[in-house]
Symmetry: C2
Subunit: 195 residues, 2 copies
DNA sequence: AGACACTAAGACGCTTTGCGTCTCAGTGTC
DNA sequence: GACACTGAGACGCAAAGCGTCTTAGTGTCT
């Protein structure tokens, strides 16, 4: 894909995001998105062979990459695993809470949005989370355990975001520390390569 | 139609208004409206034989009646034609400007909305305006001239609302008075039955 | 209990819209 | 000229939407 086409793809995905926010997944059409992006439908299908579903998957991947990029930007410079994890769950939780597009989607299309955060979307979330977070975590743990830990954290952050708890708030460092010390870190203590 | 059914019709028209604001005329479906109103599609068709178009016409008539009722509420107690007309054009212009649903429709569906304020909608607007305003105007003018005057005013108010002028502002009493004295009242001076 | 009015749910047949694919003419770059 | 890319529009098919209708259920009245 040439640089020019990369720009067009960005424009199309931006348009897809905008139109989905406006119309929702159910009513948005390829025509809406093509028009908003300023490309023809044929161009859109050339770009995303397989059509609508493929394009939405690409948008979801891009959104995830943006999300984890933002998380990664805020979790540099930690000296130990615990601090790193506290920071990760905190930033991730705050990013989820601040995501207006996500809030809008959860309000207007709860079914599909929940599915993308749970059942259907989890494999993708795991793939992207692994790419972004494992390289940080594996300073402290072997690769295999790092992957497992990232998966566990992703699931917990999503769950506590979707159904907030009266007892745990990952956005609060003390609460997160207590939770991690109780439920997560002991399982990985024996695998620590560095503190 | 029974009182209970009148309530249901109101509910359906309210739903139609809400869903049209949300989806626009192009994408809104009978299913959306029926669901929002809490009735079945069959009930909706029974209520509005001829379907979607008939229902939207009914909504437009209701909106016009509401509009002119509000105008009428604010123009009582005038001793002469000029004052009455100044008040009418002023209130009407302000009501149009304050109408958020109309603003939303003009922004999101300019084509259809304009058409309903001009070409396609004008006969209906004239009918309703005549019903509401002519009884006020014909204190001062014979019936025939009253009807003609109301039509002229309606057209002028709409035009100046849709394409505001640098020289005339009907919401401003002095501006309206000057305009009416210059362009409207002389045409009806000879027909005055009362001052 | 029976008569009647009204309703929701769902089926039906038809029309319209949307989808994915494709062709062709036009444009820009080398 | 060769090539890559694009928009516009046509095509065939699927899906959604429309208007109509039937049936079973509910409520009210006598």
């Amino acid at each position: 894909m040439t640089p020019v086409t990369r720009d067009v793809e960005t424009r199309v995905l931006d348009a897809a995001k905008l139109c989905t926010a406006k119309w929702g997944i159910a009513k948005v059409t390829i025509d809406d998105i093509a028009g908003e992006a300023g490309v023809s439908r044929a161009t859109l299908y050339r770009m995303f062979p397989g059509g609508k579903d493929v394009m939405f998957d690409a948008l979801r991947v891009r959104e995830l990459e943006d999300f984890f990029t933002r998380v990664g930007t805020h979790v540099d410079g930690h000296d130990d695993l615990e601090s790193l994890l506290i920071r990760i769950v905190g930033v991730a939780t705050r990013e989820l809470r601040d995501d207006q597009h996500l809030s809008l989607m959860l309000a207007s299309e709860p079914g599909d949005t929940l599915s993308q955060l749970t059942v259907e979307g989890l494999p993708r979330i795991m793939r992207v989370a692994t790419v972004f977070l494992v390289p940080m975590v594996d300073h402290y743990l072997p690769r295999r355990e790092s992957v497992q830990l990232v998966e566990l954290l992703a699931r917990l952050v999503i769950s506590y975001f979707l159904a907030p708890s009266e007892h745990v708030d990952f956005a609060d460092a003390d609460s997160a520390r207590e939770f991690l010390r109780t439920f997560v870190l002991p399982a990985f203590h024996a695998s620590l390569t560095r503190s």
